[in-house]
Amino acid sequence: MNGWIDSILQGVMLGAIYALFAAGLSLVFGVMRLVNVAHGDFIVLSAFIALWLQRITGFSSPFLTLILLVPLMFLVGYVLQRVILNPAFGADILRPVLITFGLSVIIQNGLLQGFSADSQKLHGGKLEVASIALPGGLAIGVLPLLTLGVSAAMIGLLQWMLYRTKLGRALRATSADLSTAGLMGVNTSHLFAMAAGIAMVTVAVAGVFTGIRASFDAVSGPDWLIFAFEAVIIGGLGSLWGTLAGGLILGMAQTTGARFSPGWQLLSGHLVFLAILILCPRGLFPRRAE
């Protein structure tokens, strides 16, 4: 019995990482209807930049690199959207998607050039092995618990931003009707760039947390992208809380599957994803009909 509880507990912790992967993807899709194929690669890029920043600054903890990484990635997202992706928006929805596909290839090869194909890891020190004992011989790691907290807080912040601030209101209005939002005085190019910048902030955080938890290399991005996609789709497109739930469900599916056989971990995640896609094609918590 304890084994099962442990699996589910670990699944929740693993799912928190997936929700972290998916938060930015969900925001960008919800606001711009853009699927960013390079999302996973940007997370890997963030992890590598954090590694590099730690090397040159001598920061003891990779979390400290976030001070520089967050504004940097915001800027990357803003400029990328404003200069490259916005002009590609229009009648053809495939065009911006193809651009992100190209970015994915560029980032992977750029990282191979700059950091070689070696597997890397961020070192979190004692935090990585610290754990809290629970009754019944169970234990949860402090780092996974922290990840869960940060993940939930980030989704909550995004939700608050979208529904309680002027920026969020304008983002939702622009998402609903681009040209009418322009009539209201909304500079839609700037607004989309802001959304992309905010998504990149979540990417920076995801990069650091994932880099401490697991090893990564230049081509890890697409694997991480799959989990992010599945979390977004399980939760329902455009719903942020749904994305958090989707991440947790995916994580739990993987860890309980792994109890049967370690080889089943990824497979059972994908199967649960497929089952949910068949049973509720719009995800578990779809945004109200528009």
Binding site: S179, A181, M184, G185
Partner: protein
């Protein structure tokens, strides 16, 4: 002194030319109606002024400033608001959020929300509802309120009465009367010619992208109007 003057405006959708050398002007405080058949270019004209359709040449001047090259989001803050055809409310936003969007550009000069609710009391009761849950007339009030909240010098309304019951249309024009009394310049595109002639100071009639007739509302002869409207010589 003109608040708005337009000279030789040409507008295009791709290769299709929708407006041909349109000359137009509006004095401060004036109420102007634009009439014309479907496809005559009335909506295109309003959208060209609002910056949604790009005209060619530097031919639109508002409050002594050339605004032709500006984007729609830059034009709002100059004091021009458009109530678009079909209302175009933001479906995923509440009534109140829709109204607040109107104040996005010039928060400083904007009306307070309470002002809008005094003008449209029934909207206050439904402030938290989704904008699309309202009746057609109420939705039109939201669309007008959303434009008014930016405190515009020029308010342009596109097909306000389309699809609304006569009683509701009456109420909406009553509201516009209070708006005009406040000194706001109005340009109204209206299908109902009688309504337009009764409400406006001056009338422009559009036909196939050109101004076919213009004059003071009280001085136009019905046969001239119908000729300008339908383009049939001698039709009455």
């Amino acid at each position: 002194m003109n608040l708005l003057s337009v000279s030789k405006l040409n507008a295009y959708y791709g290769d299709f030319q929708a407006l041909f050398d349109v000359d137009f002007h509006a004095h401060p405080g004036e109420v102007i109606a634009i009439i014309g058949a479907n496809g005559a270019g009335k909506s295109t004209f309003l959208n060209a002024i609002a910056g949604n359709v790009t005209g060619r040449g530097n031919s639109i001047t508002f409050a002594e400033e050339a605004i032709s090259g500006l984007r729609s989001w830059q034009i709002v803050s100059r004091g021009i608001a458009l109530v678009p055809e079909g209302r175009r409310l933001f479906s995923s936003l509440t009534v109140e959020e829709n109204l607040l969007m109107g104040a996005y550009a010039n928060t400083k000069d904007a009306w307070p929300l309470t002002h809008i609710y005094e003008t449209f009391p029934q909207l206050k009761l439904k402030a938290k509802q989704s904008a699309l849950s309202l009746s057609g007339g109420e939705q039109q009030m939201v669309a007008i309120g959303r434009a008014l909240i930016s405190n515009p010098l020029l308010l342009m309304c596109d097909e306000l009465s389309l699809g609304l019951a006569p009683m509701v249309v009456h109420d909406i024009y009553e509201t516009l009367t209070t708006v005009r009394e406040r000194g706001v310049t109005l340009i109204i595109v209206e299908q109902n010619v009688r309504q337009a002639l009764a409400f406006a100071d001056r009338v422009y009639c559009f036909q196939e992208g050109r101004v076919s007739l213009t004059g003071r509302a009280g001085e136009l002869k019905p046969e001239d109007v119908s000729r300008a409207y339908f383009g049939l010589a001698g039709a009455a």
